[in-house]
């Protein structure tokens, strides 16, 4: 495949070209309660060319290998044509890489029998369904095997085998007219062994769904909260992480001014990190879609803005160093600068100390996904507990949090010691509205529990 791709971009009449071809085979076994609802096999095979010519930038994606010559031509012609409008595209230097990457795992899901995958999923679904008041559950086991080959005109040749397996479940509990629904994901890594022996956590998720039936709605207003690891991860992804994606900063003078490196965003305790090589995390990978190796990047260090996430393209515009964050969902999209695994680094405070610092407020748990609109963010919490005089009280639900990113980062007043990465994840990004939306599964979040003052909570 390397030779095929190299040959295709040779003599492409561009200043720079790269070619990627990937073959992804995905299988999902979905269950309705304890019945197999579907076994669905998906093949995504296709490639993408990107080219720079005269400073213009364009790409072409295709499914049939024999279409590659046309794709190279389309990309080259369009790059040259667009240069009339925008001739600013150049690449920041990056090492030429020749590498083959294979996933690290104790148990390769490809070696596990279909029957065993079904049996494991059924064990978990059985635990969920025998929980009183749980009346239905939909589960799924998913595995994907990707072989991805990348070459560029500078001489890089990279092949990566990427494996992923996970079990997801959505449960519904009912009491009269009242229903509550919660979901969870376990695994989300190459290693099948991470799916085994998770019974206790599955039971806890089911119990939580049932407990939500009797939880009180949260009181809307402005409160001081402890966010658990899951929620603090979602918060830092949504509220801050997206602003660190430098491709959006290039042409936005006000954002460039706002996000000047060295600017104070939070207390000395606040360190925010994006780390694509975090072992075993949901957003972990080795090389991005420009063939740049991922790394650990301090976005905020000791409370001050320290760095950004870059592609080679955006690094060249902003005098940064490529961070290996230029990623597309698959061959059907242009890459964008995306987070890998983002989190706040742990500090020394115990969970009890955080609650004591809150006094009266809420302990909010579980990110329910969220979105940002520039300086505004919102996301849901799965559930929470009142904190009264530093002690956890009754359970609450129907929680949404919103606010201004910069105010809220400044309002992080304490950072805990209970660091944990979340399993599962995913992220949507658009640069021009809904039709431009690109959903990316491999995006991880995590962190310690944190205290945030003056959070707007809506019911």
């Amino acid at each position: 495949m390397e030779q095929f791709l190299k040959k295709a971009i040779e003599g492409s009449a561009t200043d720079y070209a790269d070619a990627m071809f990937e073959d992804t085979r995905m299988m999902t076994i979905s269950f309705n309660k304890k019945e197999i609802q579907n076994v669905s096999t998906t093949i995504l095979g296709g490639g993408r060319i990107t080219a720079i010519a005269g400073g213009g930038y364009a790409g072409a994606s295709f499914t049939r290998p024999e279409s590659i010559a046309k794709a190279v031509k389309d990309a080259a012609v369009s790059a040259r044509a667009l240069a009339a409008f925008d001739s600013t595209n150049t690449l920041s230097p990056a090492p030429v890489i020749r590498d083959r990457v294979v996933p690290v795992m104790k148990i390769d899901p490809a070696t596990v029998d279909f029957e065993e995958k079904v049996a494991l999923a059924l064990e978990y679904l059985d635990l969920v369904l025998k929980t009183p008041r749980i009346f239905t559950a939909q589960g799924s086991y998913t595995e994907t095997f990707t072989r991805k080959t990348y070459v560029n005109s500078e001489g890089s040749e990279i092949s990566q085998n990427i494996t992923l397996c996970y079990f997801s479940c959505r449960m519904m509990a009912q009491d009269g007219d009242q229903t509550e629904s919660l979901g969870f994901t376990i695994g989300f890594d190459a290693d099948f062994s991470k799916l085994r022996n998770r019974h206790r956590e599955v039971e806890e998720h089911a119990k939580l769904t049932v407990d939500l039936l009797t939880a009180a709605p949260v009181t809307p207003g402005v409160h001081t909260i402890v966010a658990d690891q899951d929620l603090s991860g979602v918060f830092i992804h949504e509220a801050f992480g997206h602003l660190s994606e430098s491709d959006d900063t290039i042409n936005n003078p006000s954002l460039r001014k706002l996000l000047v490196l060295g600017r104070r965003l939070g207390s000395d305790e606040l360190n925010i990190v994006d780390q694509g090589d975090f072992p075993g995390a949901s957003g972990t990978y080795v090389y991005d879609d420009e063939g740049v190796r991922t790394r650990k990047t301090y976005l905020v260090k000791n409370g001050r803005l320290h760095d950004r996430l870059y592609s080679r393209l955006s690094a060249a515009q902003l005098n940064g160093q490529p961070t290996g964050n230029y990623r597309a969902t698959d061959y059907r999209f242009m890459p964008l600068v995306r987070m890998s695994n983002i989190f706040i680094e742990a500090q020394s405070h115990s969970f009890d100390a955080l609650c004591n610092a809150v006094g009266d407020g809420y302990y909010l748990c579980g990110g329910k996904g969220g979105q940002t609109m520039g300086d505004l963010f919102t996301f849901g919490a799965q559930h929470g507990f009142e904190i009264r005089k530093g002690k956890l009280g009754r359970m609450v639900k129907d929680i949404n949090i919103s606010g201004n990113v910069f105010e809220t980062l400044g309002n992080i007043s304490m950072i805990g010691n209970d660091f944990k990465m979340n399993e599962g994840g995913g992220c949507g990004k658009t640069r021009a509205g809904l039709y431009d939306m690109q959903m990316l599964d491999k995006s991880g979040t995590g962190g310690p529990s944190i205290v945030i003052r003056d959070v707007v909570i809506g019911g």
Binding site: R64, E180, L376, R431
Partner: protein, 439 residues
């Protein structure tokens, strides 16, 4: 594709091949200065087989490796769920509306660059400092479906999309105006003017008080509410007995201003189609008639389970997918909410104090099936004494469509398309608003 169907047909009881070819060239412009384009040339296929009453599905990019498709589908069918439907044979002749514009078929990508430059040129004299990204796409989709019941039908759909995103100071996002249609169009001047005006009005930030007040959902945001109806009227949720509408056929669920049709015959509507993704001919259905719930929507599978049959709503994509990525699910083809008689300014004038919502963030929050929503006002405005006072910041709205749609006090007179429906602007009284302003 005939080859694939032929190869698999003798090994199974029933088979279906669904083929989609998509060609497009989305062009992005970033704030006057940068641009890129991605040519897309994608062949996608799904193969469904039924053997011994069990179904197996394979889908994805088309490959010449037909054996892999066949063997994967057969293996999936061995353990697949039991189904009791037949793939359809009836012709869809006469179904659907006009969805293929020859002008778009012949259009070169250069035209999109011209259109983008024209948009920039029309904005520059009025608002030279406005940060503005553009997205334009001309997509051609060729669909063919074949099955062992004898179906062999095709259609071609064109779709032109133009999206403008102006960005606020200190922000990556701001006012978004997007239009999509199966017919070529020039982006309307009045929408550009509205974008410029709304951007200017946003300069003043208002901290909104926490109380119940009228909320005007612009048609660009109503999809977040109508998504709840999609889940409620989804036949899969009826079969699973999880929708609150399960016993509500011919019962009022909303105020009598609300009429919702699933209309696959509407000319140039991106959701219009002669047959659904399972080959079932489509037809117009009343979902809600003057507030009264009339019909669930079904695909082949859930239609057979409910005993009513498919309503021509088996769709093989979800809101965020582009290709054939999900198994068929009941979805609206082209949901249309009947308009009212009011202009935007008339409805704003009706509000003593209220919120205008252009875009929401967090549409998935709240118990969707039960009709609940709890969303942040992404882009919105605060109205005082019938006049827009400024941008509503840190504002959340919450409610339940099965209650709120009884308190509609105004419907806009024009329809605009959003990801779920053609919808008018909707003015609802007494929505729960929470913010950080004075109490």
């Amino acid at each position: 594709m005939e080859k694939l169907l032929k190869r698999v047909a003798e090994k199974v009881d029933q088979a279906e091949v669904y083929h989609v070819r998509k060609q497009s060239s989305p062009v992005n412009f970033y704030n006057w200065r940068q641009a890129d384009v991605l040519h897309r040339n994608h062949d996608e296929v799904s193969l469904r087989v039924i053997k011994n009453g069990r179904i197996g599905v394979v889908k994805g990019s088309a490959s010449d490796d037909l054996d892999w498709f066949v063997s994967s589908a057969l293996r999936a069918a061995e353990v697949g769920p039991e189904v009791s439907f037949r793939f359809p044979s009836e012709s869809s002749a006469g179904c659907g509306g006009r969805i293929c514009d020859p002008e778009l078929i012949d259009m070169k990508p250069e035209q999109m660059v011209k259109d983008a430059v024209a948009i920039y040129d029309s904005i520059r004299p009025q608002a030279p400092a406005l940060l503005l990204n553009l997205y334009l796409d001309n997509e051609r989709t060729d669909v063919t479906i074949l099955n062992t019941s004898g179906k062999n039908e095709s259609y071609t759909k064109t779709q032109y999309t133009v999206s403008l995103l102006s960005m606020y100071e200190n922000s990556k996002e701001g006012i978004n105006k997007e239009i999509t249609s199966c017919r070529y169009f020039r982006f309307p001047d009045d929408v550009i003017e509205e974008l410029i005006a709304e951007n200017a009005l946003s300069a003043r930030h208002i901290r909104v008080p926490t109380r119940k007040m009228p909320v005007l959902f612009r048609s660009s945001s109503t999809w977040s509410l109508l998504y709840r109806i999609l889940e409620g009227a989804n036949g899969a949720n009826k079969v699973r007995s999880v929708t609150p509408l399960k016993d509500k056929i011919d019962t009022p669920i909303f105020g009598d201003q609300i009429t919702l049709l699933d209309d696959p015959t509407m000319d140039w509507a991106p959701g219009s189609t002669p047959f659904d993704d399972e080959g079932v001919p489509t037809r117009t259905k009343v979902i809600v008639d003057k507030g009264v719930f009339r019909n669930f929507i079904y695909d082949l599978n859930f239609g057979s389970k409910s005993g009513t049959g498919s309503t021509g709503n088996g769709i093989k994509r979800s809101m965020w997918t582009r290709g054939i990525e999900v198994n068929p699910n009941p979805r609206f083809n082209n949901l249309v909410m009947q308009p009212g008689e009011l202009t935007v300014s008339e409805m704003i004038g009706m509000m003593d104090e209220g919120i205008i919502v252009n875009d929401v963030i967090g549409f998935h929050s709240g118990n969707i099936l039960q009709g609940q929503y709890s969303m942040n006002v992404g882009i919105g405005f605060y109205v005082k004494n019938g006049v827009i006072a400024g941008r509503a910041v840190d504002t959340m709205i919450a409610g339940n469509i099965y209650e709120d749609f009884h308190r509609i006090t105004g419907l806009g007179k024009t329809l605009a398309v959003n990801p779920i429906a053609y919808s008018p602007d909707i003015l609802i009284d007494g929505v729960s608003v929470s913010g950080t302003g004075e109490l």
